[in-house]
Amino acid sequence: MDRLYVFKDRLFLTLTVLASIITVSIVIAIFVVLLLASLDAIKHFGVFHFIFSQTWSPHRHIFGGASSIYGTVMTTIIALFFAVPTSLGIAVFVTQICPKSLKGIFSYSVELLATIPSIIYGMWGLFSLAPVMRNYIEPALQRLFLPIPGLKVLFEGTPLGIDLLTSGLVLSIMIIPFIASIARDNFELTPKEFSESAYAMGATKWEVIKDVIMPYSKVGLLGGIIIATGRALGETMAVAFVLGNDHSIHLSLIESSTTIAVTLANEFTEADSALYVSSLFYLAFILLFLSFFLLSVAKFLVKKGVKRHG
């Protein structure tokens, strides 16, 4: 009887160990397989040349990733530009201003933004947000910024609503819940004694937030922002609808562009030559590497932030 138990226990242990090993080996396998599949393109175009060359011409068999990488970075920057202040505002509101009875329901509504699938963001972006951008927001921005010499380049062109700005805005809405919830957790971890002693010195609420709570939670906040960056970099569907898949680099925010993920989504099944496919794998590998790197840094920072409080 005892031996049967020992046997069953060993069996269960083995199964659980296997499952966790499988999880880790999937990540390793993804790295290895993508690297192998992109070897052809790496040999052909090199590393720096591929990253900085903007020619993407399937019929001439020349592939450079610069346009996709530029679009990826720009949409992410725009997304952070909108999302970081909004999320911090939300976290301040939830932890410092909101009445206790509404706190739960309010945080939950913001978290609901994270449960909406990206394809829905795409649909909404294309059919609801893009027309508003095209007809009202972008013309207004142009009236505002075109007369200013330095900012002119950012707003040139015909507003179509299918552009970097709209994509960045959609992305920003998608990452707000991630930054906001990490910011909220970190704000709440700030010891009451710290903020109360600042209040006792006569500080206003905003001064307490700015000079006590924010500095105290900066490591965790930074981690949250980097996680959101990692997510924004690799988002596919929400951006694929509203970016226009255009392989040329425009400085203007109201021009079409493409990101690594969007290029993959649009061209992967149509790629006809081995080198074309391999270049797409190369892009995928770059994306994987970038997000894995950023997310590991973020993970480290968030842990460090939590450890200091614990």
Binding site: V6, L34, T86, V110, M123, T204, K205, T236, L287
Partner: protein, 281 residues
């Protein structure tokens, strides 16, 4: 005195801005949900669920094939993903709770949750679609399973960690072997949490699009054979929304409506289960 007034003014402005930010967040949520509900609701009818797509340009079709395809892909993905996720999470929280290896697996799983899902699609394409020579529902399910595993693994780990250690000790004291303790004591007391975790994991994965683009692809015809390319709701929405026909857009909104309503109901239900479970203590 002037300084004080200035500080108070700055305080009011900053707090006002954060209230504004909070309502901006709510505004986006309402804007998205209201547009999907209003545009989708008028497109919902019985033929959406019971008819297959009409040829392009013709009206009157439905998305039966996409619903069935999505269902099959999700079920196959769950059959692979749920056992591995739960088993892995069990190792991290039980047998391996003191090992450095477990912390590493847990961190890597956390990173995997946020990895770009389209990359998983390209991975499965090169290990399944290319060797097999054709797109298939199995490949789509496998891609979704890869995304499902870390999600379920992490929630399982967290839920099991919430079970008080004394409960296990009580069972050990009765002479129960560890696997029995896990099966009859730990799983049982974490059941509601585990169920919710699985539910949300499946829901999250079932609404993914990017990993299906190059794995299950799409298929204009009804099929229940996962060994050929299979239609799914999400990929169909993408194709229809980007297409030129008014009828396609209508169907895409209808499908979005179904997805949003399902996801909202599931996540509210999950919230409810967890709240009820943990307010009892």
């Amino acid at each position: 005195m002037d300084r004080v007034r200035k500080r108070k003014l700055i305080n009011k402005i900053a707090l006002g801005l954060s209230v504004f930010a909070a309502f901006l967040g709510l505004f986006w949520l309402v804007f998205i949900i209201v547009s999907v509900l209003s545009k989708g609701f008028s497109a919902i009818n019985w033929s959406l669920f019971f008819k297959d797509p009409a040829p392009p340009g013709f009206s009157g079709g439905g998305l039966r094939s996409a619903f069935v395809g999505q269902g099959i892909i999700t079920i196959v993905a769950s059959l692979i993903g749920i056992p591995i996720g739960i088993m892995g999470g069990t190792f991290l929280a039980e047998y391996g709770r003191n090992f450095k290896f477990s912390r590493l697996v847990s961190d890597i799983a956390d990173i995997m949750v946020s990895l770009p899902s389209i990359v998983v699609g390209t991975f499965v394409y090169s290990i399944m679609v290319r060797p097999m020579g054709h797109f298939s529902g199995y490949a789509g399910a496998f891609a979704l399973a890869i995304i499902m595993i870390p999600t379920i693994l992490r929630t399982t780990e967290e839920m099991l960690n919430l079970v008080p250690w004394e409960l296990r000790e009580a069972a050990f004291a009765l002479g129960a072997p560890y696997y029995k303790v896990i099966k009859d004591v730990v799983y049982r007391s974490a059941a509601a949490g585990l169920f919710t975790g699985v539910l949300l994991g499946v829901a999250r994965v079932a609404t993914e699009t990017a990993p299906l683009l190059f794995t299950s692809f799409n298929n204009p015809f009804f099929t229940v054979n996962p060994n050929q390319s299979m239609p799914s709701l999400t990929v169909t929405i993408y194709q229809y929304a980007m297409g030129p026909y008014e009828e396609w857009h209508r169907l895409a909104w209808a499908a979005s409506f179904v997805i949003v309503v399902t996801v909202l109901l599931l996540s509210i239900a999950g919230r409810f289960i967890i709240n009820r479970r943990f307010s009892k203590r």
